[in-house]
Amino acid sequence: MPYSPLIVNPMRQELTSVGVQELTTPEDVDAFMNDKDGTAMLVVNSVCGCAAGMARPGIRTALEHERRPDRVASVFAGQDLEATAHARGYFDDVPPSSPSIAFFKDGELVWFMPRHRIEGRTADDVAADLRAVFDEHCATVAAS
């Protein structure tokens, strides 16, 4: 059963406040996933400690990097059930876990961070892994 929005909203805002687009419906997911140009990162958010202590802070740090995905979005496992299930349907040969992070290039899944590569690590570890993926696949973002 989903938690109260009072509890979950800060967990959403921790990502949306740094530009992560939140996908709360299957239609949102389709719109995001059907844009196959360039690089895209999809975060499966979660209420658990791994998301709070490692995944979300690590993602926030990584998105400060000079190279970033063209588009970043999130679905919230356990909260936006249909959107999350629909998103996972785009890579249904990957076991569901949360938190987790999927990275796409030109519509293809090229990298995945499952929960077990987040648990027991630090936010800096997560950020470092993400920066390495960004360096490999993403263009430098022009300074504004």
């Binding site: 400690g49 791994c50 990957v94 076991p95 499952p114 077990h116 590569r117 027991g120």
Partner: protein, 90 residues
């Protein structure tokens, strides 16, 4: 570990590979480890050659993507356990 999990084994909440003295290999998230054995949640079991995959092929994919949780909860008896490794370290 953590505010709400005191009293649990140090590996509580960590996804591990449990090797046994037989052909079975288990992957799951540790709930606890006690004198009964390793209590795993959201676990999978692989038997050598199952789905035409070797143990190494299975673990390679598990390390990259995780496993499908075919078992909500299972206990690997202590007398069968020959090793426990963190999946994230593979």
């Amino acid at each position: 570990m953590g505010t709400f999990h005191q009293g649990k084994h140090d590996l509580h909440g960590i996804t591990v590979v449990v090797e046994t003295d037989g052909p079975d290999l288990f992957v799951g998230r540790v709930d606890d480890i006690d004198d009964r054995g390793v209590i795993l949640l959201d676990a999978d079991l692989h038997r050598e050659g199952e789905a035409e995959r070797s143990r190494e092929e299975y673990l390679d994919r598990a390390a990259r993507f995780g496993v499908f949780a075919r078992h909500r909860r299972l206990v690997v008896p202590v007398d069968r356990v020959t090793g426990i490794r963190r999946l994230g370290e593979l």
